[in-house]
Symmetry: C2
Subunit: 466 residues, 2 copies
């Protein structure tokens, strides 16, 4: 069916205000935060309800039109780039907090709510939604769920998956499923909730979510530990865990990142240091005080040249914001910033950082490495220029070697950014041929016409005729 | 292919010591802990490695022979009863703790390890594996994973799913997949780890698991709150949560259960009380002391006639063991004990218990109700006699009404025991027709010959020709 016929049917379902095909609108939704990826959709639609999402999906399924559902597009894996054209579905009109249930400690939300809005909304009630991706100021909860976003508090509190209790989703055939509920325990059949979480919009379109909340920790303390080299920082991470302390956050910045961030944020980071750890602990005041004393002692024993406690919440917040701004700070230096999230077992961080530096030197590239040291989730970030084809080719080769090293160390190709289009060629390295077969079988069973975010997760080997 | 031909092929793969078809052996594996279910398998096999499991699965897949993988069979849903005959696969020979990794806080285990062995093993190292199903003294970790077992500590610490980081599993085609790893974050493709957890052996056979450990809480305190009626107990549960306290455990016993348990365990339960709550909190000493003071105050305010703190760990353990023995205690009174696990949002517990009592009176049955009040997971337990057909029919009707009420209150048909064969007819009540379609599609995609634990989860409507 022609695009204009699909458009007419969509207008009949949604009204003409919410179906767009202007060049400007298509351009706006032709890319996401991933560098070097752009593809024009044919149409942009803005449903206002689950029923309207159903209508869109039915039309697309009948006409075999691709649908890319998206939030703010802050994923860094090309997950929401409409690589096979078709319809982009956005959730601006479905951006309501539906219900706070203080008895069951749940929050019901529509997919278009901004993550930070959720966090602030529940904190005002002394409740806590822990997942805090660096993009939380602009990312949507629907995107977070579809990508199973992580964040800085993942070490102690887990990731988005651990806070999704139930979902309403529209399947490729237009049917609605409701999974889970306001339930701490539910084993009625396969865990479709967690199958949808992190499925990157390829198995269903999430239209409502029930989130789990926990009580807000009473207090929080922040320290900055400064090191001459990465090994001592990594040893500190291991020593803290070995002492049975699980901090809320243990963020790592290498020397290059420290310089870039300080130049951007002016928070007093030591630009001559080899590495820093930003460590936070939250909880009851007595426990936080005791843990922080132990953490300070352990960091010093492992060779930190200084361990400074943030003197106020403002100072702590400045440090946290500086860390969250690492990607933006890097992006100032070169036209193109490519950030990855190879992840390794915590015990392998120092080895992984050394390998990243060796690979970077080998390919003569500029890199900043930072990330979540507590959970082994690193963000090696190449500063480059997409117009320099030769350098971009070396970046690609370097990333392949980084992924291979992460796998060799028992890690994964992506800790929190998703596979999307960018990492599809490498998924098999992590999960093997049999894993790919299982995932493809699930995809085909649930979306036989391959309309839901096609071109993602699975790599289509192109036949090369020479 | 004939059973004897399958047997010969299995003997060729495993050796004759590990392939059994004696009447005694088949009888032993013809049932599990579920009352009223028995079916004879043709063969019982005992693999010693993942490779041997692969060999078994390949033979069964080629010959379309059902395989029921099982641990100790403590599920209460008929999940491991070989209802379509075929092969029962047991893990007695795969019962090793493979590796404790103290740096990454993981424990790698084979499926046949007893849950309590894991708990004791890691606690000796001051580490903690929280999931503690009541059956933990005899249940295996493989069974716990396949059923996504809960337990008494689920309110604060979550369930088995939350502690499985990676799995090795044999698929229906004999291929091996390895999911996850020693990784706090991993979003490489669909979450196959959590799809396998709770899939009741219908999607793959788990042959190794990487479990997440956390630091062992420093201290624990236990109180017993005594009430004249269930409403005051339920209000106490709500008040504690509303005060932002999440106890480790909040177990509820109704009057009938109190009497039965006290008669069995002699731990000093007040047999004239309408209900008791067994509440535990663990953590740092200061926090536990403060929480317990607040809990005592709140229970008293809500109308507890007494709130007694266990004076010693022995006394606390006696109370805990008494609670865990509730099912065994009930089983002494009547020939047949049928325990269910309808689960509702925490705020609906009192309403659900009242409904259970009304339904029980309507059908003139004997019932004890106990369970995990903190997470809304109740265990209404009918004391009956399988030989009394009329009464058994009434029990069935009563359970149908209980399930319907749980669903009406936003709950589920099973919080932690699984669907198995027993609850297959009711699964659609929870997840709807579209949910069943999705689950069937996944099952068919991964196990096209339906050899993995057939007859479970999905209800086959029998055509009745009149």
């Amino acid at each position: 069916m022609s695009v204009s016929a699909v458009k007419e049917r969509l207008i009949a379902a949604l009204g003409s205000d919410y179906v767009h095909d202007s060049h400007e609108m298509r351009l706006v939704y032709s890319y996401d935060a991933t560098p070097g990826m752009q593809a024009m959709p044919d149409l942009v639609v803005m449903p206002g309800s689950t029923e309207e999402v159903q209508a869109i999906v039915r039309i697309c399924n009948e006409t075999k039109t691709p649908i890319v559902a998206r939030g703010s597009g802050t994923n860094l894996s090309g997950g929401t780039c409409p690589v096979e054209a078709g319809v982009v579905l956005t959730f601006q009109r479905m951006n309501q907090i539906v219900e706070l249930d203080e008895e069951n400690l749940t929050l019901t939300v529509q997919p278009g709510v901004i993550t930070q809005e959720i966090i602030e909304y529940v904190e005002a009630k002394e409740l806590f939604y822990p997942p805090d991706p660096s993009s939380m100021k602009i990312s949507t909860i629907g995107g977070n769920i579809s990508e199973n976003s992580g964040g800085l508090r993942g070490l102690k509190y887990g990731v988005t998956r651990d806070y999704v209790l139930g979902l309403t989703a529209v399947l490729a055939n237009g049917e609605v499923i409701k999974t889970g509920g306001k339930l701490a325990k539910d084993v009625a059949g396969y865990d479709l909730t967690r199958l949808l979480v992190g499925s990157e919009g390829t198995l269903g379109i999430i239209t409502e979510a029930i989130l789990k909340l926990i009580p807000l920790p009473e207090t929080k303390q922040t320290v900055l530990a400064i090191y001459e080299d990465i090994d001592k920082a990594a040893q500190s991470v291991s020593a803290i865990i070995a002492n049975k302390i699980i901090p809320t956050t243990m963020e790592f910045l290498d020397q290059a990142t420290i310089k870039v961030v300080e130049d951007y944020a002016h928070v007093g980071l030591p630009t001559d240091a080899g590495a820093v750890l930003l460590i936070e602990q939250d909880g009851a005041p007595e426990v936080v005080a005791r843990d922080m004393e132990a953490i300070t002692k352990l960091c010093t024993e492992m060779g930190a040249t200084s361990v400074k406690r943030a003197g106020s919440e403002e100072e702590a917040n400045a440090l946290r914001s500086a860390r969250r701004a690492a990607l933006s700070a890097c992006a100032r230096l070169k036209p193109t910033t490519i950030l990855e999230d190879a992840t390794v077992p915590r015990s392998k961080i120092a080895e992984m950082v050394r390998a990243i530096n060796e690979i970077t030197a080998k390919y003569q590239l500029d890199i900043c490495t930072f990330g979540h040291a507590g959970d082994g989730n690193l963000h090696p970030t190449f500063l480059t220029d997409a117009r320099n084809k030769a350098e971009m080719h070396r970046v690609e080769q370097a990333f392949e070697e980084i992924f291979a090293k992460a796998i060799e160390l028992g890690g994964t190709i992506t800790g929190e950014h998703g596979v999307g289009a960018m990492k599809a060629p490498y998924l098999e390295w992590k999960i093997g041929e049999s894993g790919i077969q299982v995932m493809r079988a699930i995809k085909t069973a649930l979306d036989p016409n391959n309309i839901l975010n096609p071109g993602k997760l699975f790599f289509e080997k192109k036949e090369v005729v020479s």
